[in-house]
């Protein structure tokens, strides 16, 4: 996987930033418009997958490695759980403890934007990690089994 042609690389370099921006918009405005943490996270993950398909795995993994993807995954899941647990300060699990504010504003609905951000981070890291695991690790394993490279060696 050494990357695609120059045309694809140029287009991806311009477009990927906008895809990430759109995903962040979907995540942040989840409590106002259709969308939310899950679709927004998938859109951001799609931008990273696009970069990996166009530029090859070395450059993409240098920007966003599998180790940091799994770290972000853990961070998002724990963040959502912590938001749920902080509700115990107000009475019960998943209590909306932040002031609800005025409806139809960006900062409103209490803990909901925070939960959306946590879920978005979790989903983007985890889908990217699935792609890395299936597209990269799998090939290395096949080559280990065929005997092209010794076990334990880095690809």
């Amino acid at each position: 996987m050494r990357g695609m042609t120059l045309i694809v690389k140029t287009v991806v370099r311009i477009v990927s930033a906008f895809i990430v921006l759109y995903g962040i918009y979907i995540i942040l405005y989840g409590h106002l418009t259709p969308g939310g943490g899950f679709p927004g996270g998938v859109i951001v993950a799609a931008a990273f997958i696009l970069i990996m398909l166009a530029y090859g795995k070395e450059i993409a993994l240098k920007r966003f490695g599998d180790r940091s993807a799994s770290l972000l995954d853990n961070f998002g899941a724990l963040g959502f759980l912590v938001i749920a647990l902080l509700g115990l300060t107000g009475g019960y699990f998943f209590f909306n403890f932040i002031n609800k504010g005025q409806p139809f504003r960006l900062v409103s609905a209490g803990t909901m934007p925070l939960s959306n951000i946590a879920i978005g981070i979790k989903v983007l890291a985890c889908l990217y990690a699935v792609f890395v695991a299936l597209a990269i690790f799998g090939r290395a394993v096949h080559r280990v089994e065929r005997g092209d490279l010794k076990g334990g060696e880095e690809r």
Binding site: G35, P39, F80, F94, N96, A109
Partner: protein
């Protein structure tokens, strides 16, 4: 409604093509067509949240499946049928259709649900949670526990994928490993 029926027939035909196609790549592409038709169906039923999620997940799944099928060596699968499997499939399909017809007699009409619990959510959701998107107020506030369970399922499956497919810590089997787990010799 006619458009909806046309979409449903298109999805059924796409699913049958996906099952019957001998080429794995064309099967994957027809699965993708079914997914996109499903997202349009969600839009027609008035569920833009689900439509966005469906279309985005479908794109990612299509990329993953195409990468998975291209890297495989054998793209054509052998076709084998035995009479018993076909007959039992037909029998159970008939039973399923009969029971489905009986069960659907008592169901409320499509797009016209009973609205016992959801009526309360729709009426008091904005005051109670302050979220303009009523779907998010249900998913993240009224039914936050379910979302936590869903996030846990996703997290656990990714953990499993990483453990099974990792490359660090993977090495060839050696003789002393075989002796340690008690399987000597070449298996």
């Amino acid at each position: 409604m006619t458009l909806f029926v046309v979409l449903l027939v298109f999805m059924i035909i796409g699913s049958i093509i996906a099952i019957e196609a001998r080429n794995l790549l064309s099967a994957v592409i027809s699965v993708g067509a079914v997914g996109f038709a499903l997202s349009i169906g969600f839009l027609l039923l008035g569920a833009p949240d689900l439509a966005i999620t469906q279309i985005v997940v479908e794109v990612i799944a299509l990329i993953l499946l195409i990468r998975g099928t291209i890297s495989l060596d054998n793209t054509a699968i052998e076709k084998h049928r035995d009479t018993f499997a076909v007959i039992s499939t037909l029998v159970f399909l008939g039973i399923f259709l009969v029971f489905g017809y009986v069960a659907l007699q008592d169901m409320p009409k499509l797009g016209d649900p009973l609205m016992k619990v959801s009526q309360g959510y729709l009426q008091t959701g904005l005051q109670k949670t302050g979220a303009a998107n009523i779907v998010m107020s249900i998913v993240l506030d009224f039914r936050g526990y379910d979302t936590l369970g869903e996030a846990t399922v996703l997290f656990t499956s990714i953990l499993g994928a990483f453990v099974v497919l990792r490359r660090r810590g993977r090495k060839r089997k050696e003789e002393k490993d075989r002796a340690r787990v008690g399987i000597p010799g070449d298996l």
